[in-house]
Symmetry: C2
Subunit: 358 residues, 2 copies
Amino acid sequence: MTSEHDTAGFLEELSRTSGEWLKGDGPDADIVVSSRVRLARNIAGFPFMTRADDDVRLRLVETLRRAVLAAAPDEGLQFINVALLDEMDSQLLMERQLISRELTVMDGPRGVIVGPGEHLSVMLNEEDHLRIQVLQSGFALQECWNMADALDTGIEASATYAFDEELGYLTACPTNVGTGIRLSVMVHLPGLRMTREIQKVNQAAQKINLAVRGLYGEGSQALGDFFQISNQVTLGCSEQELIENMHEVIPQIVGYERRVRELLCRENRQALDDKIARARAILTGARSISSDETLHLLSSLRMGINLGLVEDISIGDVNALFVHTQPSHLQKLHGGPLKTAERNAARASYLQSRLGSA
Amino acid sequence: MTSEHDTAGFLEELSRTSGEWLKGDGPDADIVVSSRVRLARNIAGFPFMTRADDDVRLRLVETLRRAVLAAAPDEGLQFINVALLDEMDSQLLMERQLISRELTVMDGPRGVIVGPGEHLSVMLNEEDHLRIQVLQSGFALQECWNMADALDTGIEASATYAFDEELGYLTACPTNVGTGIRLSVMVHLPGLRMTREIQKVNQAAQKINLAVRGLYGEGSQALGDFFQISNQVTLGCSEQELIENMHEVIPQIVGYERRVRELLCRENRQALDDKIARARAILTGARSISSDETLHLLSSLRMGINLGLVEDISIGDVNALFVHTQPSHLQKLHGGPLKTAERNAARASYLQSRLGSA
């Protein structure tokens, strides 16, 4: 189904487009950038990854690939052999949130199957044999879950999962045992961050067993006012209960952020206008810009759009810029590797081409 | 000769124009913004200012005014009674470098006589009875001295200066005794500042009895890469010797700054381009900006023009912006007092109107 040529073309195409889940639509998309459901699964009769040698891993990739493609035969899935990718291409997939950092750095046979519009990605041989991930724009966990659940059921038609009647799905890491599910939403909370209320969100989330993390998941720092909120518990309650839990909490955070923004608009309008105008000025005017600074400035611009203070740029455009200004995207666009200083210049020129008027 | 109506009209006009010495022409005007000669004089038979009561001061103002106007009858001089000015107007004259901070804050009868194009200003009843100041664009100390000397000689025709055969001109502060002259040039040294070479200039200048000060003279901090270099010694050498001394030193500093700029252009071009482009972006994009930040950014922009990296703005335009973005100029333009936040917004909008393309 996929030759290397296919992969190259797919990656080329990828670097010029954006995932559907970045469109900026869906419920509460002003604050909830995206929703994600991830299922961890392992195949019965195969050892966990830590004990699987390359032969086993190779057989796993073939078995899993067949099972996933069989489960969704009409959906135009693309298999990518991650072991064959160079660093730039595997980074590209990571910047795209289609694969994890772990999958880029590990050795041995491994891959990812990507669905059209990038709603779906299934990692093969990451920490678990299978990591099914569904992404949607806005606050749409139920939709993500429905899609993930359907694929999961489809896969079970041709593969037998490692499952224990009492514990549930068995996973490589005990924290995933049970449902094997992780629900997460990426929220944009510039108001709560500016007013330092973000600490309270953090504390409140921890009390009810939700984790607040940075943009790139576990261990990463929150950057540019973006936070991932996800469940910590996977054992002892159903998927539906976990989704309901998020449906209680996330709207409260969204409401909190909205109230703070309104307050800022009312009582600190000049500073807010200035922050947003400067962000735009630097994004379009700089000749060299780091990815961190870009992230922070795009965050301000994004809030400006949400508040109606910037009218000629869409949320979807800004969401896409977050992805397309990252190193591998810039290098892919350039057609080859760039050193840091060159990347910073390429990033500035890309931003100007997208946001500049002159 | 001047009614209050005249003064109001003159100040109004002032707030909309720029001094000739800001035109950005004259020798080495890329680095030497302006040259200034100041003569301190006191009238024989009157006590020094510290011992002069208001009656004496009033008589002094009248005597001095007549003497100055008689010395240059055809030059359209404007007398301004500083004691009658409100804070905004006296600040305006100070921002214009026509009067000193001291003259704005002291009490009692005092004034200033301003010549056309603002090349000439004569303060009456400042630290000394007379402070004759001549300003020119670029490195033009000889021209300044010739003009100051001619006026000085003219005044002596109708007034007798306090003069001692051995000491020279007697002044309120011993540091001015002798020639009573202070020569100073305002230099723009962003390259030496960026590369931290400015320390060396400072040390070298001190060794040969030159002072390096900030934009607003004594006690003020250097801001935005602008420095005033002036003689410390006024006793024991002639005016011409002092001028020659400056003519030896200043070209060395100018050459040093030029070499550093060339080096930056050659070896750090991207960072330089970025700095200048960002300065312009913020100056035109901000909605609120302090006068300090403005000064720093205009400094970068000015260097960009000098290096040919910015082509659609002139040095004269930027020089004028340094003056017109100061608090009293903005308030005069607005037509009344503005609070800090309002001034910052007015400054941003003024800068945009002058530098923005949109």
